[in-house]
Symmetry: C2
Subunit: 123 residues, 2 copies
Amino acid sequence: MIISEMAQLTKISEYTLRYYEKKELIIVSRDARGRRNYDENDIEWIRFIQRLKETGMPLREIKKYSDLRAEGDQTIPERRVMLETHRLFVVAEQQKWTQNLCNLDAKIEYYATIPLTTDQTKF
Amino acid sequence: MIISEMAQLTKISEYTLRYYEKKELIIVSRDARGRRNYDENDIEWIRFIQRLKETGMPLREIKKYSDLRAEGDQTIPERRVMLETHRLFVVAEQQKWTQNLCNLDAKIEYYATIPLTTDQTKF
DNA sequence: ATAGTGCTTAGACTATGGTCTAAGTCAACC
DNA sequence: GGTTGACTTAGACCATAGTCTAAGCACTAT
């Protein structure tokens, strides 16, 4: 699979796919003409990167994970620890957004109840 | 209130407070010596900016809100619409994080159940 | 009066995560 | 054999959100 197909499939631009490779998040083999040749495994991996990114993992962390992955099976426990640690971050984020929603709702509620004649410069 | 006190109070660095002013998010009066002189109203406003930022509102949006606020009471309905619109964003974010957590948990669960002898390069 | 502190400004620099350009290669089609 | 199209590379450029530096002024304490 060529980069343009990969870009279409994953909705990640060719630019970004090359960028990820430059940043050593992805390692892709080349064909006889020197072009990137993505296989099934690469697709899986890129989809996983996508999910990690969606959960707010910075690229340098994803790179760490990628490096461990490249080292082989003996790094599985380490990788799992990374995911468990990241999980705590995601839980915290989720709770933060819930709290933020409460705050915002309170604000909007306040906005709705105060008479329009009072001074509104505070908001 | 002087900038250093404000920085301490809000945990926003002096650099950032000046930056916000340069970006026209905040308008602060000066004392006889030309130094920023924050009052109660400014504190409230900066705390509100903080909350908007926490809920992922970009600075340019906050500036828009700030501009409306500066225009006076007649912009209240517009400001309220902004908050309501932003609320939808926050709700979506909250749901996204909940979904992300599910995905990650499924991943970790999978990690936990597969025998350690299989090929792990997929993760 | 001179050093020190705390502010002022403009503008340079940083990090993150892309996004794009320029120049070049290679295979295929006409 | 020339053009087209899809790729290659290095490196420039962009937006966001700061973060810091340099040079300078005003007041205070010694």
